[in-house]
């Protein structure tokens, strides 16, 4: 095969396509990437999720070779690429605005990399046809770039990289420019392509839904550091920090103080004076400030007092109904003026609900989380 031009001296034991060790990059005083270490198993879909300005683009550009880290190491298939220029690295990148060459046709765009890699010209046509078929654009080779729709450009940008069989494909928020419907389709399409090519994808995004739907592993990044790395389920159900809890998924967030802790159940009094039970994994002394997170879908609405014993049960008044099909929610308010957003199942039981009615919301302590407020108060501000 001809695709081994990059992959020299591959160690059969190395199971990671990409690994970083204590990678740092500073711009003046500002630490864009601050001691990040991770490794990605072969063929995984790895997402880096974070708000804008968290350093994820800088991290990706260091992986591609457009920026040099101040310290740390980048290993691709087990060997350091720190001194390898971007055009020699076995990684390819799908740019945020795709960066397809407008002066070339689709086929010429794909052939560009093949030529540079020294693939014999007679093989180009079949390789291009093959990759275009895989991205479901057969026969598009002669089209000009400006004749393509947004989704088609996306596929060409991916085909242009994957035809080179890179060890790692880097994607820099490529779905950002698409409209919602197309974005939903492309999420599934990207996942399918990743399976089909069996290439390691590193995907950066600020959109948690993109990261959750597509990824095997997600790293949540904040202020240049990885807050938590895990499967989407782990991040959603077992966030390790307040930042992850607030950034991944929707939550009702309340500030409060610890009243007592017995085992992993913490009794919290919120700033409004509501007493609630919550799960807390770390020891928290009484009187210490905490942030409490309750997901909208863990709370149950009932028109009468629940029969079964619930850890938390509040009598509330409906403020407004937020209809959004399957994602419908209802905003309720307690006597203490604490506003909660509760998921509203679209079943017949709740058809009759309307603003102003009194209902009960209840949930178990094990279904909500609290974290001690960290010394840096800005942390939970997200």
């Amino acid at each position: 095969m001809t695709d081994q031009a990059f992959a020299s001296g591959v160690d059969a034991e190395v199971q990671e396509d990409l690994a970083c060790a204590l990678l740092s990059k500073h711009f003046g005083e500002f630490a864009a990437v601050d001691g990040v270490s991770f490794s990605i198993p072969r063929g995984a879909f790895f997402s880096i999720l974070g708000p804008s300005g968290c350093g994820k683009t800088t991290l990706l550009r260091m992986l591609a070779g457009f920026q040099q880290p101040d310290s740390g190491d980048i290993l691709i298939k087990g060997s350091s690429v720190l001194h390898t220029p971007p055009n020699k690295r076995p990684v390819n990148m799908v740019f945020q605005h795709l960066a397809l060459f407008p002066t070339m046709s689709v086929a010429q765009n794909i052939a560009y990399g093949l030529k540079r890699k020294g693939v014999p010209k007679r093989e180009h046509a079949s390789l291009i046809d093959e990759v275009l078929a895989k991205v479901q654009l057969p026969g598009y080779g002669d089209k000009r770039i400006d004749q393509l729709s947004g989704g088609q450009k996306q596929r060409v940008a991916i085909a242009r990289c994957l035809v080179l069989n890179p060890a790692v494909l880097l994607l820099d928020e490529p779905l950002g420019a698409l409209d919602l419907k197309l974005r939903e389709q492309m999420k599934i399409e990207l996942k399918r392509l990743q399976r089909e090519f069996n290439t390691t994808f590193v995907y950066i995004t600020h959109d948690q839904s993109e990261a959750m739907v597509m990824s095997d592993q997600v790293a949540v990044m904040n202020k240049g550091r990885f807050e938590q790395v895990g499967t989407p389920q782990e991040l959603y159900y077992q966030p390790k920090t307040a930042f992850v809890a607030s950034f991944v998924g929707d939550s009702n967030q309340y500030a409060g103080t610890v009243q007592a802790q017995s085992g992993q159940v913490v009794t919290i009094v919120t700033e409004h004076g509501v007493r609630l039970l919550s799960y807390g994994s770390q020891p928290m002394p009484s009187g210490s400030p905490v942030t409490l997170f309750i997901r909208p879908e863990v709370m149950q609405i009932s028109t009468s007092q629940p029969v079964t014993e619930q850890d938390n049960c509040l009598k509330v008044t409906i403020l407004r109904m937020l209809f959004d099909g399957a994602h419908s929610q209802v905003q309720v308010e307690t006597a203490e003026r604490v506003v909660l957003t509760v998921a509203l199942p679209q079943t017949a039981d709740f058809q009759a609900l309307e603003a102003g009615r009194s209902v009960y919301v209840s949930w178990q302590a094990s279904q909500c989380l609290c974290f001690p407020v960290s010394p840096e108060p800005a942390e939970a501000a997200q």
Binding site: A64, F66, P85, P86, N87, K88, V91, N92, M93, F95, Q96, H97, A99, L100, F101, P102, T103, M104, Y112, G113, R116, K117, R160, C161, L164
Partner: protein
């Protein structure tokens, strides 16, 4: 009457259209088209007796039979093409540096530095070069002072001096369109070029230059026209032997008072410049409308 407003509006619209068009039509017809028609007519006549003229092609045959005219013509064309290409070769890296490497304040500063010489008249700028290059000039003096020459060196009045002057005069007209087109090149295209395995040379050849081609061509056309029609620089820096075709036209009109011959030369120069521009566009597969937009 109620059905009329549409018509009134339309008449007003048409009137406005013609009023807006009037200056350009006047300018074109009075200053460009009429003089050129007159030039063609003048070039096609011959003086038979005092104040008596007849139709003749003799002005054109004189051009083709007299080797001096013909040689000057070809020489002017070749020198202009060379000057244009050299200007491009010098201006491209400068423009690339301004457009793609620098950002913020240094970028503006360097761009203005390219512009500043043009605040001075071309005549003064050319005299500046004469001060540097003449026998008693700065460079000659410096060479003697360093002991590299044992007598004054005359660097004026040769083709190199003409070329230096022409390139210097033309730089800005090449830099401006190049910086504009290179500025519009998305940096991520260059990065993608590297990312897909291209070396600097490949990225330049297959991404930067194709993108900049309209700018390159528009810069080249402007510089070529300016150079071909330049009178001052070849005359001052090249002396009386500079053999620039505009000088021949000047001589015919002013010295010889042979307007018929001068007009024929003028028309020939127009044909030549149009032909070379057309050829340049054909070779590079660019369209005139795209280059000029």
């Amino acid at each position: 009457m109620s059905g009329e407003p549409g018509n009134v509006n339309r008449t007003q619209y048409r009137l406005g259209f013609w009023l807006l068009l009037a200056p350009i039509v006047l300018w074109l017809s009075l200053l460009i088209i009429l003089p050129h028609i007159d030039m063609v007519l003048v070039s096609l006549r011959e003086r038979i007796a005092s104040r008596q003229y007849g139709f003749s092609l003799s002005n054109y045959t004189a051009f083709f039979t007299e080797p001096l005219y013909w040689n000057t013509f070809v020489r002017t064309a070749v020198m202009s093409v060379i000057a244009t290409l050299l200007t491009l070769i010098i201006a491209f890296p400068v423009s690339f540096y301004i457009a793609k490497v620098l950002t913020g304040r240094p970028k503006i500063a360097l761009f203005i530095l390219c512009l500043i010489p043009f605040w001075v008249s071309e005549l003064v700028r050319t005299y500046g070069w004469m001060i540097l290059l003449r026998e008693t000039g700065l460079i000659s003096g410096a060479l003697q002072w360093f002991g590299l020459a044992d007598q004054p060196v005359e660097m004026l009045y040769n083709d190199v001096a003409i070329m230096v002057g022409l390139i210097y005069t033309s730089m800005l007209f090449m830099v401006v369109p190049l910086v504009t087109t290179l500025d519009s090149l998305d940096n991520s295209l260059i990065e993608a070029g590297y990312d897909l395995g291209g070396s600097s040379l490949h990225v330049m050849k297959s991404i930067v230059i194709p993108h900049a081609m309209p700018g390159i061509m528009s810069g080249c056309i402007v510089v070529f026209m300016l150079t071909l029609g330049n009178y001052l620089t070849p005359t001052l820096l090249g002396g009386k032997d500079s053999l620039w075709f505009t000088e021949q036209i000047y001589t015919q009109f002013i010295t010889r008072f042979n307007w018929e011959q001068g007009a024929a030369f003028g028309i020939l120069l127009l044909v030549l410049s149009s032909l070379i521009v057309w050829l340049g566009l054909k070779i590079t597969k660019q369209s005139f409308t795209r280059v000029m937009s």
